[in-house]
């Protein structure tokens, strides 16, 4: 268990240091740190913020994938299953269509609204029904998509372009102050979630199982959903919906490490960060100077890798 976490940490650090150095223009770390133009500007203003955003977003999305897969007891669940980010998309699209300035804030508001609606539907007395939650999420996804398509159909040409770009998901450079807020929001929540790994183990088996071993299932279920939705909403408000990270990273790691969340969660956090940073580096360089939207890269990289993993472990999988 500890060994896998150390290995993940090493991979994370290698990627974190190397990623800002990769790009369409060649730069050197020494020159960048010494303040030499253009290395300094490219490193500190164009690349590093993107890499930091990728690391934080990848970590948050992967960890949310683990939580939702656990709480819904469904290895195919992912951050977008509950409709939180599609609610965020509605918020963002409304902002774009009505020319409102704070797209991120409205996206966050949309995500929060979606969470409240979905939780409200799924609460039965004092218990949450996972099944109802899943269905409510699927419904929220459909309705939000319909609203987005509707607004998109009425939008002007430039608005339509902005909407399409937002929906593709992207890691554009953000201000360091925004990154600081993101880190302050994401890192403590992730640490709290990871700290409860043994509790998630119990919940992953079943509610009665967890309850008869002394766990307050409703408390942890609600905590998990709110933490996961918060992370998804915050990340999506900055990056738009980036798919696959929250599904592939936890699932692939579970195939390699097993189901114990004490290994799975820290490693998903670290390797999810690394994965998105790598995908971002690829998106910037493969057909430079054009950028591929990072959501496309995560799907194209993650998908085949995952298929390979499934095939190589096929005989020992009890799916």
């Amino acid at each position: 268990m500890t060994r896998s976490v150390w290995i993940s940490l090493i991979i994370f650090l290698i990627v974190a240091v190397a990623a800002p150095l990769i790009g369409s223009s060649h730069i050197e770390l020494r020159r960048a740190l010494a303040g030499t133009s253009p290395d300094h500007e490219i490193f500190f203003y164009a690349r590093l913020p993107r890499v930091l955003l990728a690391l934080l977003a990848g970590a948050a999305l992967s960890l949310t994938g683990v939580i939702f897969q656990c709480l819904l007891r469904d290895p195919l669940a992912e951050p977008y299953t509950l409709g939180i980010s599609s609610g965020g998309s509605v918020g963002a699209v409304i902002a774009i269509c009505f020319g409102l300035p704070a797209i991120g804030l409205l996206s966050l508001a949309g995500a929060g609204t979606a969470l409240l609606i979905v939780l409200g539907i799924a609460f039965e007395g004092r218990r949450i029904s996972s099944f109802t939650l899943l269905l409510a999420g699927v419904t929220m996804n459909s309705i939000s998509l319909a609203i987005v398509l509707f607004l998109h159909s009425l939008a002007s040409f430039s608005q339509s372009f902005a909407i399409s770009r937002w929906l593709m998901g992207g890691l554009d450079a953000v201000a360091y102050s925004t990154l600081a807020w993101l880190a302050v929001a994401v890192i403590p929540v992730c640490m709290v979630v990871i700290a409860y790994s043994r509790q998630w183990n119990l919940l992953a088996v079943g509610e009665e199982w967890a309850s008869s071993r002394g766990l307050s299932t409703t408390t942890y279920t609600v905590l998990g959903y709110i933490a996961g939705s918060f992370l998804t909403g915050i990340v999506t408000s900055l990056t738009g919906p980036i798919g696959f990270v929250g599904l592939i990273v936890p699932h692939a790691l579970r195939l390699k490490l097993g189901a114990d969340h004490r290994a799975l969660m820290p490693c998903s956090f670290l390797l999810g960060a690394a994965f998105l940073a790598v995908c971002d580096a690829l998106s910037r360089t493969v057909i430079a100077p054009t950028e591929i939207p990072v959501g496309v890269v995560t799907a194209l990289v993650g998908g085949p890798f995952f298929i390979w993993l499934l095939r190589s472990k096929r005989r020992s999988l009890w799916l």
Partner: protein, 244 residues
């Protein structure tokens, strides 16, 4: 005295159940399908809230017990489990230590309890295997190991021998019988003969009510079986023989 129920009921499936259970011994709950056996067991395990009437364990109302404390006293074995994730058999048994461990890692005491539990249930051989790869009977023995690792005072088992072959059914009942010298073992069962031979007390249920409660020979007397199960039987040499 362990459980004391007075006019215990749920909104469905259980009505006006009044009974006392001893602090140790082997109690079986029998009855036709839909009689409410699993429902009753669920209430005793603290898994069905809210219930009507009163049901106390060691003098404290079940709904008032603190969950962690309750889990140290009572272990519940479901009839079957659906496992979505690749936990190993040993990890499943280790989860039985949850009421005792607060920290990140398990203690030596936890590992010792798990080792003992797996030896008792003859499951040590597949400790490293994926739980989902085990047969139905192996899973049942393993879930029993997880419950034994909880070091409970009471074991509540819902049809613990459904998937077991004959040898393992008898082994399970012998094991439960031995455990019943120290613990209270309450098992829902369909096997009336094993209930007759092994248990100290039998509760027979019918339509959500307790139809009989007493020593096996009385509770499972042919007259009761005729009334509750609609099957004609007689006792020969201590075994229930049914009219085919």
């Amino acid at each position: 005295m362990s459980f004391q129920a007075k006019a215990l009921g749920l909104s469905y499936g259980l009505h006006e159940a009044t009974f006392d259970l001893p602090a140790s011994g082997f109690v079986t709950i029998a009855g036709p399908n839909g009689a409410g056996k699993s429902t009753l067991l669920g209430v005793l395990a603290g898994l069905r809230h809210p219930y009507r009437g009163a049901c106390t364990y060691r003098g404290v109302e079940i709904r008032k017990w603190r969950r962690g404390e309750f889990a140290r006293q009572i272990a519940f074995l479901p009839q079957s489990m659906r496992m979505e994730f690749p936990f190993t058999a040993e990890q499943v048994v280790l989860m039985g230590r949850a009421p005792y461990s607060d920290g990140w890692f398990e203690s030596q005491r936890d590992h010792d309890a798990v080792e003992r539990a797996m030896e008792t249930t003859d499951t040590t051989a597949f400790a490293a295997r994926d739980f989902r790869s085990l047969s139905g009977g192996e899973k049942q023995r393993l879930i029993l190991a997880s419950s034994l690792a909880q070091e409970p005072e009471t074991l509540l088992l819902d049809e613990p021998t459904t998937f077991l072959d004959l040898k393992h059914q008898l082994a399970m009942y012998r094991l439960l019988s031995t455990l019943a010298k120290r613990l209270l073992v309450v098992a829902v069962t369909h096997d009336l003969n094993l209930a007759l031979r092994f248990s100290d007390r039998v509760l027979v249920m019918e339509n959500g009510r307790i139809a009989a409660n007493g020593a096996p020979q009385e509770a499972l007397a042919p007259a009761v079986i005729e009334r509750v199960f609609g099957v004609h039987s007689e006792v020969r040499d201590g075994w229930l023989v049914y009219d085919l």
